[in-house]
Amino acid sequence: MSLDDASVAALRAEVGEGALAAQAPVELDGRRIAWTLCTADAAALGRALRVLGERGLGAVVRGGGTRSGFGNPPRRADLVLSTRGFAELHEIDVDEGVAHLGAGVALAEVERALAGSGWELPLGAAGEDSTVGGGLAAAAVDPRRAAPRSAVLGLTVVLASGEVTHCGGRVVKNVTGYDLAKLHVGGHGSLGVIASAWLRLRPVAERVESWRVEEPSAPRALEAARRPSARAALFEGGTGSPPRLLVELAGDAAAVAVDAAWLRETCGARAAGPGELDDAFAAAARVDPVDALRVRIAHLPTRLAKLTGGIEAAGGRWAALPAHGLCWAHFPLPGGAGEARVDEILAATRAAAREGAGRWRLEAAPLRARRGRDVFGDPDAALPLMRALKARFDPAAVLNPGRFAGAL
């Protein structure tokens, strides 16, 4: 699938010659997508989306591309809609602690802009290229920031029907109309393209300390992760490695001191390097999709031990955010491993998710392991509602067709 000359002409008539290019093809799930549309003009993007709908074309929405590997294989992928054109850092209001950011702005750039302001971003980057819009659309989670939805005050979203719409606002409290931002955060661009966002910033902590605990039990790890100043805690183990807990304490210096003392005295914690937790999470989040599977399981916090037991029994290693009830399991999948091994891993994953009273999703896997399976996990009881939403927001299935839960 690609764009024919008439479609190229129709799109260029809406967005301008330079906004649609075929210079750097994007590889996605075995497809080579030649054309990329990138504009700074939300209204022009809206017009382009209408053209795509009229012509029955499908687009892959993409920010920095750092999380684009997650999703079901697309049903159509005629071009890439890059949000990098929305590159304006509209406003940072340090008195209010809020920021209005273009979706295509790199999170790293925002962090640089915020340096010294006393505020920091509520979104975690998966790499230098991670963007505001991508992080929101993916509902990206990192050890310090597990709830990006809470940080969103308002969004500008371009709908498949072409309208440029707004929801929410710039103030920190708002119940004016439906909270549509909740649908777009974690919606993976399947209901609309986020063009900009108002975010609530977080105050920079007065003091930050990193601690390491060797071989804690799961209940002890949970207890540590729930200390009042524990901003992040990563617990990892499996496949013969003894478990290890990394804790970052942040906040008021006096509160950090209290929790540091507790960690030392109760858990025998030792000081860790400042980048150790980030490195460990990056390693946990990184998996070569050629020869491994990465699964994310949301679970009840107290069930972690049972859950990790199941992962280890199936030959996996794991990394968990105990306070948030999130666990990533990694299973090697050597080139020779066939369908039966994938089924075995997913059966173990399902069992682990059941133990945890939670849900799983296949975050990274080679295409052969994803074909014919829903990477968003077992069918959700609310799938008919999700289908109805997709039909209302994107009836022509222009936006990321097939990539979302239930192959929507």
Partner: protein, 482 residues
């Protein structure tokens, strides 16, 4: 029509039993309004189910009879959201009042929608936990109602609103089907439907079960009362505290007129009646940290012009301060027969100028204004005391309300921070949203309630802004979904 109504009543009685179906005029009178008494409408019937299956049966009965229905909690809402604006059946959930599960280890509870907000915190307290959203009506309002309105409260500043604490829902859809959204482990795999339903004002279905996050009780709490010569300097202190990076649990301002009303009422807490305003600051967390933060807040208040800053000496005094704050609306009943509680949000840095503008508006209309509000969130509650029996005064109240909202929107704010839109503000939605924005909201509504039978007449304006351009348009709540 009478036969039709009799048939509806009969099927409702079959669904919930005779004693849980109210149809007599004197029974229905109670349900004509919620906390907003200006917009009243009589329902065809009121049912009081106890179980999800009964709610589903009621919804099916309504559909068969071709009437709409309105979910209702305790009726404490302040925007007319629980009123049968277009007739229909009120589904009153207060008898669905059981806490179904409370799991301290995993810090969640599963409750029926009629559980009273404060009761849940009371039940969680022995486990060292509480339910964080705390609307001023928390002694009466229900979790289901809180879900409908995405209720806030004074402690929203640190802990967030209802949406930040709801993990899962059971919902009776407008076709009578029952669906579960989310769950105690959170992190839904598809769209965040829980997030979409919270705050939808009962227009997407009837919530019959709520799974909520419970929060650890803080080790230590310090409550300070800053006394200021006028509201503006109290607002300056709020700005200083926010800029300092401190995140208090609450930052509330009470103005002189409110203080006078409170001190003359059963909620009297010894607030200084000669003060222009008081700022209530609550800090919580680890004791070692809270003490230092309290000292910092004292300094910031003094820098902003506080004549003194008192600290609650014990839990009893703290309770007294809060009783004064939360009882303020009740105390205002002494000022006039009626009270219009407004709700709008502005950027926090704009508070001083907006408050001056609000005062000017009320002065111009000759109205009695008092202010008690969530300053840390920029969430204003200008309260206008009036007498509805005076039609001229009532008209001025409505006009002033519109001007207040417009002023807030022009300052970058919004028209509701925690009360919702309901019938009260539906026609002001155009101050913030254009047709495309509202159509996007309607897409969500259509996915859940394509026939618009669930709490119609709320949120969406009665008329379209583009009616002249689009003669087919007959108002947001009239155009059938295609």
């Amino acid at each position: 029509m009478a036969a039709h109504l009799d048939a509806l009543h009969a099927s409702l009685r079959r669904a919930v039993g005779d004693s849980a179906c109210l149809t007599r005029p004197e029974e229905l009178f109670v349900y004509e309004a919620d906390g907003l008494t200006l917009n009243a409408a009589k329902p065809l019937a009121v049912v009081l189910p106890r179980e999800t299956a009964e709610v589903a049966a009621v919804v099916r009965a309504c559909r068969e009879a071709g009437v709409c229905f309105v979910p209702r909690g305790a009726g404490t809402g302040l925007s007319g959201g629980a009123v049968a604006a277009e007739g229909g059946v009120v589904i009153e959930c207060s008898r669905m009042d059981r806490i179904l599960a409370l799991e301290p280890g995993d810090r969640y509870a599963v409750v029926q929608p009629g559980v009273v907000n404060a009761e849940l915190s009371r039940a969680a307290a022995p486990h060292g936990l509480f339910y964080a959203p705390d609307p001023s009506s928390q002694a009466a309002c229900t979790i289901g109602g809180n879900v409908g309105e995405n209720s806030g409260g004074p402690h929203t500043l640190k802990y967030g609103t209802t949406t930040d604490h709801v993990l899962g829902l059971e919902l009776v859809l407008p076709d009578g089907e029952v669906v579960r959204l989310g769950g105690p482990a959170g992190f839904a795999s598809g769209y965040d439907l829980v997030g979409a339903v919270v705050g939808s004002e009962g227009t997407l279905g009837v919530v019959t079960e709520v799974t909520v996050r419970l929060t650890p009780l803080p080790d230590a709490v310090e409550t300070l009362l800053g006394v200021f010569p006028e509201v503006v300097s109290a607002c300056r202190a709020v700005g200083g505290i926010i800029r300092s990076g401190l995140v208090p649990a609450a930052l509330e301002i009470v103005d002189r007129r409110t203080i006078e009303a409170v001190e003359a009422s059963v909620y009297a807490a010894g607030l200084p009646t000669d003060a222009g305003a008081v700022l209530l600051v609550e800090l919580d967390g680890v004791a070692e940290a809270v003490a230092g933060q309290a000292e910092r807040v004292r300094e910031l208040c003094r820098e902003a012009g506080a004549s003194r800053v008192d600290v609650a000496r014990d839990a009893e005094e703290r309770q007294r301060f809060w009783r004064a704050r939360k009882g303020a609306f009740g105390a205002m009943g002494r000022l006039a027969p009626d009270l219009y509680v407004h709700d709008a949000v502005v950027p926090r840095t704009k508070l001083p100028e907006i408050l001056e503008a609000v005062c000017a508006i009320c002065d111009r209309h000759g109205l009695r204004l008092s202010n008690v509000f969530h300053a840390g969130d920029g969430n204003l509650h200008p309260n206008i005391s009036f007498d509805r029996r005076d039609p001229d005064e009532l008209a001025r109240v409505v006009k002033a309300g519109e001007e207040i909202l417009r002023t807030c929107v022009e300052a970058g704010g919004v028209i509701s921070g925690e009360h919702g839109i309901g019938t009260e503000k539906r026609d002001y939605m155009g101050m913030l949203f254009d047709d495309a924005d509202l159509d996007a909201m309607l897409r969500l509504r259509a996915a859940f309630d394509p026939d618009r039978v669930c709490n119609p007449g709320k949120i969406f304006p009665a008329t379209r802004f583009c009616m002249e351009a689009n003669p087919r348009a007959r108002g947001y709540d009239r155009v059938p979904f295609e």
